[in-house]
Symmetry: C2
Subunit: 216 residues, 2 copies
């Protein structure tokens, strides 16, 4: 197919596809007499995968390159790629720690211990969580920490469902791709679903009756 069709089918604008090719994330076209455009289904799949990671998931180009290199290797390393995908997602604050940093770290350590989670020392998500807890303490809302356990329980259920779906697939490459997409898109799933549930609760509490019928 031509690049215009690749763009139409993937939803990715042509200039961005060309950028991905220049950056080495997508292989160049291989034109033949039968297919002067030279883009095939592999190109389409690769463009869609990059779109999922970078445009939708907010991953950096550099991280996406690392993930794709691993994906293309004969024996992709699932844990390595998963770690990369996780590292790449959240830009973190480089502010100085506040007076509540140590207390926040204890809150998170206690939570991890209560869950029985087996974690690496340098888990970036742990730092992100400590910063969020620290910020909640800084702003004087320590009471909101009370239901951190509800969040952790939800995270445990989701992780079990995620891992169960990864286990049922076959090739190493398919497992890795599924793990990356599950990490990136799952973040959007839970984030947007939580906000929809909030909207539902807010409408019920503040505008009761509205939306139950066509007109009020």
């Amino acid at each position: 197919m031509r690049i215009s069709e690749l763009s139409a089918r993937s939803g990715v604008p042509i200039p961005r596809i060309k950028y991905y090719i220049r950056e080495g994330l997508v292989p160049r076209a291989q034109p033949t007499a039968d297919d002067p455009g030279g883009y095939g289904d592999d190109h389409l799949h690769r463009v869609r995968l990059i779109r999922a990671m970078v445009t939708i998931g907010g991953m950096s180009i550099a991280t996406a390159r690392t993930v794709l290199t691993e994906l293309d290797s004969p024996t992709p390393e699932v844990p390595v790629v998963l770690g990369q995908a996780m590292l790449g997602i959240n830009a973190r604050s480089d502010d100085a720690p506040s007076e509540n940093r140590a207390r926040a770290a204890r809150v998170v350590d206690d939570l991890v211990a209560a869950r029985g989670w087996n974690l690496a020392e340098d888990e970036p998500a742990r730092d992100a969580l400590i910063t969020a807890v620290e910020t909640m303490l800084d702003t004087g809302h320590a009471d909101l920490l009370g239901h951190l356990d509800v969040y952790a329980e939800a995270a445990d259920r989701i992780a079990d469902a995620d891992m169960a779906s990864v286990a049922t697939t076959d090739s190493a490459a398919a497992i890795v791709e599924k793990a990356v997409l599950g990490t990136v898109l799952g973040e959007i799933f839970i984030g947007s679903l939580r906000r929809l549930a909030h909207s539902d609760r807010a409408r019920r509490r503040f505008w009761p009756g509205e939306g139950d019928d066509a007109e009020q």
Copy 2:
């Protein structure tokens, strides 16, 4: 206090505090003979709140200003501010819809109907969710949608806990501030906890035994 102390106690660098003041997000100092610096606890609280929304939560300065204006009004509107906070968080893709867009919208509509959620027509989180589902279909991982219901169930439990904690507070301003922080920081809570739970599962599956003791 002086701006240097305001910076030290909030963890926010001095140039960024000055930027917030120039942008009208933080009131100017009110120096007196007793307090030549002229920054008080109100300034400290405001700087911490902006840090939570903008630096930690990724909200735009424009959205933060709208939220703070509402917060400063005599009768802050909880739903309006909540909506602003939600609108501000996620930058969405402006890519053309793919061939799977309509199917993705049906998946989300069915999910919302099954949950019995009462939503507005123009819910930004709904668009974000449809885009994530569309991307999962585009990349050929429709099977991962199977446990979207686990995510929705988790979101419902979290929203109930969030709303319960908002209900117990007193003044309208306190409710609004708690709702904004809960929305912004709660996003980081569930995102980072999910990743920690993933790390735990990945370590147990791929490196069993590691980390159970001091050495392997």
